[in-house]
C-alpha cells in the first residue's frame, strides 16, 4: 500500500490538495489555485489568486462575492491539463453549476464527488455516473436512517401546510442558493396557487438561475413593511440566518418551517425551534451514497464532510470495498 505522500490527492491543513498540480479543492484559506465545486459559502474563500469552476458556478460566485474575483471556467466534461494531469468537471446534481471533479494521471483516475445528490432536481443537471479508481465522497447523511422522499411529495406537504392555515403567513426557511430555487420549482407544480415572496438574497439567486435558463416562477421581493393582510395565506422564502432575532417581528400571525435533510429526525425537528420541518436535501441519502460508491467502480474510497465511521464499516463488511482514512 502506498503512503499518503504518494496519493495523488490528500488532505492538507484540512483541505483537499493535489501536490502534483499544486491545486486545492474548495480551500478554506487563500491559496494560489483553487478548484471550486459549487457556489455555497462554505466551499469558497476570498483571496485566492485564481479560481477554476464551471461557467454557472462562476456566475453565481460573482453574484455572491463580487465581479473582481478571477475565475477560469470550463464546460462539464471538458478536459484541461495542469502539470500533466487531466482534470474535468462533471455534474453532481447538488445545485446549479455544482460539479464532481475528476483527475487522471498516469492512467490512474481520481474522483472528488463534491456535494452531490441523485434525486430529481429540475433546477440543475442530473448527477453523472463517473467511473474512477479512487473516490473521495462527501457523506453528510451517511446513516441508513436518512432516506429521502420524492421531492414532489415534500412539495405537496408544503402546499398542504400553507393552504390549511389560510389566515397565516407561512415562512419557509431554506438555503438561499439551490434549495430555494428547487423548492420554488416544485411548489409551483402543486395546488398552492397563492403569492410567493422571497428575501433579497433568494430573489437575486432566482434571477441568476433564470438568466442561466432555469425556468422558475416569479416571486415578489419581500419588503420590510408589507401590510399584514396582504401576506395572509402566502408563502415567504427566507434564509435560515433570519429565523433567530428580530427579523420575524416584521410579520404577524406566522407559521414557520425549515426545509433540510436533518428535519427527518424528530428530536432535531423539535430542537430546531421551527413549527415544522420538511425533510428535503440536496445531499445524497444513505442509498444514494452507496449507489455512487458502487457505480463509480472505485476500489478505494475516502469520505469527508460527515460522520463516516458507520458508513465505512458497512462498506468494508458488507460490500468488501476498501475504505481509506485521511490522515489530517
Amino acid at each position: 500500500m502506498r503512503t499518503k505522500k504518494e496519493y495523488l490527492i490528500r488532505y492538507k491543513n484540512g483541505n483537499l490538495y493535489c501536490e502534483l498540480a499544486d491545486i486545492w479543492i474548495d480551500p478554506s484559506k487563500p491559496v494560489k489555485k483553487a478548484l471550486i465545486t459549487h457556489a455555497h459559502f462554505d466551499h469558497f474563500t476570498f483571496g485566492c489568486e485564481e479560481y477554476i469552476s464551471t461557467k454557472e458556478t462562476a456566475i453565481l460566485l460573482k453574484e455572491r462575492f463580487g465581479d473582481n474575483i478571477k475565475i477560469k471556467t470550463f464546460e462539464y466534461g471538458e478536459e484541461f491539463k495542469i502539470n500533466g494531469i487531466n482534470i474535468s468537471f462533471h455534474p453532481s446534481g447538488h445545485i446549479l453549476g455544482s460539479s464532481q471533479i475528476r483527475f487522471i494521471f498516469a492512467e490512474e483516475k481520481w474522483l472528488i464527488s463534491g456535494d452531490f445528490k441523485l434525486q430529481k432536481d429540475e433546477t440543475c443537471k442530473q448527477y453523472e455516473i463517473v467511473k474512477t479508481d479512487y473516490l473521495i465522497s462527501e457523506c453528510t447523511f451517511g446513516l441508513p436512517i436518512f432516506k429521502w422522499d420524492e421531492s414532489n411529495k415534500i412539495a405537496n406537504d408544503i402546499s398542504k401546510w400553507i393552504t390549511s392555515s389560510p389566515e397565516k403567513t407561512s415562512l419557509l426557511f431554506c438555503y438561499s442558493l439551490g434549495k430555494a430555487q428547487r423548492l420554488l420549482k416544485e411548489i409551483s407544480q402543486t395546488n398552492f396557487k397563492g403569492n410567493i415572496y422571497s428575501h433579497d438574497s433568494i430573489y437575486k439567486m432566482n434571477n441568476r438561475y433564470r438568466e442561466l435558463g432555469i425556468d422558475i416562477r416569479d416571486t415578489i421581493k419581500i419588503e420590510n413593511k408589507k401590510k399584514i393582510d396582504e401576506l395572509k395565506g402566502s408563502l415567504i422564502l427566507l434564509p435560515p440566518s433570519l429565523s433567530k432575532g428580530s427579523y420575524l417581528k416584521n410579520f404577524k400571525n406566522i407559521q414557520t418551517a425549515f426545509a433540510s435533510g436533518w428535519m427527518s429526525i424528530r428530536a432535531l425537528r423539535k430542537r430546531s425551534g421551527y413549527d415544522k420541518g420538511f425533510a428535503i436535501s440536496d445531499h445524497a441519502d444513505w442509498d444514494g451514497i452507496l449507489e455512487v460508491v458502487k457505480k463509480s467502480e472505485a476500489k478505494n474510497v475516502f469520505f469527508h464532510h460527515g460522520d463516516s465511521e458507520a458508513l465505512s464499516k458497512y462498506l468494508v463488511e458488507k460490500e468488501s470495498i476498501n475504505v481509506l482514512l485521511f490522515s489530517k
Binding site: 436512517i145 424528530r266 420541518g277 465511521e309 458507520a310 464499516k313
Partner: protein, 546 residues
C-alpha cells in the same frame, strides 16, 4: 377512524406550538370521529397507554433479524435519533415493498383493542411473524405510532390539561368537571367517551373520584410584603401527595398522578373505613419514623408504592402514615369554596372527633399536619433552614382566605424550599441523550477528589442551557479519552457546581454516598480541577445534617 387519521393528528399536534391551535385541532378531531376511536385517542394522548408490549431492544433485534441488518449499525443510528421506535420507523422506510397494504384502514380500536393485545398471547416466533406482517401491511406513515405503542413510548406534547380544555370547549362544560371525569381508570370504550362528553353532570358517578389537586407555586418575593398572619405555614414533606376519600363507606386512595393505589396501602384503607363520617382529605403519604415523629427518606416509600398487596412484615418494616393537610368534603358537602382558615377549623374538629370516637385507634396511621407559627418572615426563614433536621424539604405557605381551586394557580399556595446543598465536581463521563436531546452528549457524570483520584459521585442531566449544552457537546467530542458504546470518558478539565437535596451513605456506590436530585447549577469555567471539592467535603456535609 383509521390509525391513519390518528397518525395525522399526531403529526399535527407535534408540529403546532400554540396551545389554542392544538385545542382547535383536537376539537375538530373529536367532532369528526367515532366515540370509540375518540376514546382510544384520549387514552393515548393522556399517556395512559404506556404499557410496554415489547422492549425497544427487542424491536431493534427483531428488525435486525428480519432484514439481516447489522446490530451495530442500528445502535449507531439510535445514538442520532434517541428513540428505538423512531429508529426502526426510519429504517423500515422503503423496506416493506408489499403492495398489500391491507391494514391501511385499520381502526384505532381494532389495533389497540385487539391486534396489539393479542400479540402477548403468541409465542415468540408467532409474535415476530405477526409484527413483520403488520409492518408490511401498514402504510409507512403509520409505522411510528405502531412502533411507539408497541414499545410503550407514545408521547406527544399534549398535557391532560389541554385535553381537558378541548373537551370542555367541545361540550361547553366546566373544565373542573371534565378534569374530574378524566381522572382514574378510564378504560377506552364508547361508554367512557360518552360519559366524558355527557352534558348532564351525573353526581353519583363523579362521587367515586378525587377532586383536581391544588398545587403550590415557587415562592415570590412579593408575599414578604404581606403580614405573616395572612398565611398558614406547614412543613413540606417529601412523600406522595394523595387524596384520601371515603364516600358511602367506601375508601379510595388517589395519587396526584391519578392512580388508585388502595392495593399498595391496604392497612390505611382498612383503618380509615372505621371512621363514621364520609370525607375527602388532601394530604401526603409517608413512611414514618414513629419514635422520632419525622418522615423516613423517600427511598423507603419507594419500597411500598410499587408493591401491591404487601405482606404484614413489609407493612411493619415500612410503616406508613397519611398526613392530612386539608378537608375538601365532609359527609357529602363539598367545602372547597370555604376559606382555608375555616376548612382548617373543620379539619381539626373532625380529627379530634375521629381520634376519640373511632373504636379502632387510628393515630398509628393517620394524623393532620402540624402547623408552624413563625413570628415574622425572618423567623419563617429560620424554620425553613431547620427543615432538613426533620427530613422535610422546606415550608408550604398557604393564604388563609383562599378557596381550594385546582391546578397551579397563582397567589394561593407557595413552596419555600430549603437551599440545596452544593459541591464543585469534575466532569468525567458523558453519554448521548435520548428523545429531544438525541445526537448530543447531555448525560454527564461528575467526580470528587479522593487523594489523587477522581471518584464518580453523581450523574446529572439538567441545568445547562441549550447553548451551553451545544458548547459542552463540542468540547466533549474533542476531549474524549475513550469510547465505551454510547459513553465517553473525558479529559478531566471541566468543573461544575452540582446542587442536590439530600446526601446519604450508600454501599452501592464506590464513593460511598448517594445524592438526591443532583443537577448542574453552574458551569465553573473560572475553576481548575484542583479547585473541585473532595469526597471528604461531601462526608462533612452529611455529618452536618445528621
Amino acid at each position: 377512524m383509521s390509525l391513519k387519521k390518528f397518525s395525522e393528528l399526531f403529526s399535527d399536534l407535534d408540529s403546532i406550538n400554540s396551545t389554542n391551535n392544538k385545542i382547535e385541532v383536537l376539537k375538530r378531531f373529536f367532532l369528526s370521529n367515532e366515540p370509540i376511536d375518540n376514546s382510544w385517542a384520549i387514552y393515548l394522548l393522556t399517556g395512559k397507554s404506556n404499557k410496554r408490549f415489547i422492549s425497544g431492544r427487542y424491536l431493534k433485534n427483531l428488525f435486525s433479524q428480519i432484514y439481516e441488518y447489522p446490530q451495530w449499525l442500528i445502535d449507531t443510528c439510535y445514538l442520532k435519533v434517541g428513540d428505538s421506535a423512531e429508529v426502526i420507523t426510519l429504517l423500515l422506510k422503503n423496506k416493506t415493498t408489499s403492495r398489500n397494504k391491507k391494514l391501511s384502514n385499520i381502526s384505532l380500536n381494532e389495533l389497540l383493542g385487539k391486534t396489539i393485545p393479542e400479540l402477548s398471547k403468541l409465542n415468540e416466533e408467532e409474535k415476530n411473524l405477526q409484527i413483520k406482517n403488520i409492518w408490511e401491511r401498514l402504510p409507512e406513515d403509520n409505522h411510528l405510532i405502531f412502533n411507539k405503542i408497541l414499545t410503550g413510548t407514545f408521547r406527544v406534547g399534549v398535557s391532560i390539561g389541554l385535553i381537558t380544555k378541548s373537551i370542555s370547549k367541545l361540550i361547553n362544560i366546566d373544565e373542573e368537571i371534565i378534569s374530574h371525569r378524566l381522572m382514574g381508570n378510564l378504560k377506552p370504550s364508547i361508554d367512557s367517551y360518552e360519559f366524558l362528553i355527557n352534558k348532564n353532570i351525573n353526581l353519583e358517578e363523579l362521587n367515586s373520584k378525587p377532586f383536581p389537586f391544588l398545587l403550590a407555586n415557587n415562592i415570590e418575593d412579593k408575599i414578604f410584603k404581606h403580614s405573616i398572619n395572612d398565611f398558614q405555614f406547614e412543613w413540606k414533606y417529601d412523600g406522595i401527595r394523595m387524596q384520601l376519600i371515603k364516600r358511602s363507606g367506601h375508601v379510595s386512595l388517589w395519587t396526584r398522578g391519578q392512580e388508585l393505589v388502595n392495593e399498595s396501602f391496604p392497612e390505611l384503607v382498612e383503618k380509615m373505613s372505621f371512621i363514621n363520617d364520609d370525607f375527602v382529605l388532601d394530604g401526603e403519604l409517608l413512611v414514618w419514623n414513629f419514635k422520632e415523629q419525622i418522615a423516613f427518606d423517600f427511598s423507603l416509600l419507594q419500597k411500598r408504592i410499587n408493591r401491591k398487596s404487601p405482606t404484614r412484615s413489609i407493612q411493619k418494616r415500612y410503616p406508613i402514615i397519611f398526613i392530612a393537610y386539608d378537608l375538601l368534603e365532609i359527609n357529602g358537602r363539598d367545602i372547597r369554596e370555604i376559606k382555608l382558615e375555616n376548612r382548617r377549623i373543620e379539619l381539626e374538629k373532625y380529627f379530634s372527633k375521629w381520634q376519640n370516637k373511632t373504636e379502632n385507634n387510628i393515630s398509628d396511621i393517620f394524623k393532620i399536619c402540624d402547623l408552624i407559627f413563625p413570628k415574622d418572615w425572618p423567623d419563617a426563614l429560620t424554620y425553613k433552614e431547620k427543615s432538613r433536621e426533620n427530613n422535610t424539604e422546606g415550608l408550604i405557605i398557604k393564604k388563609k382566605t383562599t378557596i381550594y381551586s385546582s391546578g397551579r394557580k397563582k397567589g394561593i399556595w407557595w413552596k419555600y424550599k430549603v437551599d440545596p446543598m452544593q459541591l464543585d465536581a469534575v466532569l468525567i463521563y458523558a453519554k448521548g441523550g435520548s428523545g429531544r436531546r438525541a445526537g448530543l452528549y447531555t448525560d454527564y457524570s461528575f467526580a470528587l477528589w479522593k487523594d489523587q483520584e477522581l471518584i464518580k459521585f453523581a450523574s446529572a442531566y439538567s441545568g445547562l442551557t441549550n447553548v451551553e449544552i451545544k458548547e459542552l457537546d463540542k468540547w466533549i467530542r474533542k476531549n474524549t479519552i475513550e469510547k465505551f458504546g454510547p459513553v465517553r470518558s473525558l479529559k478531566p478539565e471541566m468543573v461544575f457546581e452540582i446542587s442536590f437535596e439530600k446526601i446519604q451513605f450508600s454501599k452501592r456506590h464506590k464513593s460511598g454516598i448517594a445524592v438526591r436530585f443532583p443537577r448542574i447549577t453552574k458551569w465553573r469555567k473560572d475553576k481548575k480541577i484542583n479547585d473541585a471539592d473532595s469526597l471528604e467535603n461531601a462526608y462533612k456535609l452529611m455529618k452536618k445534617i445528621s
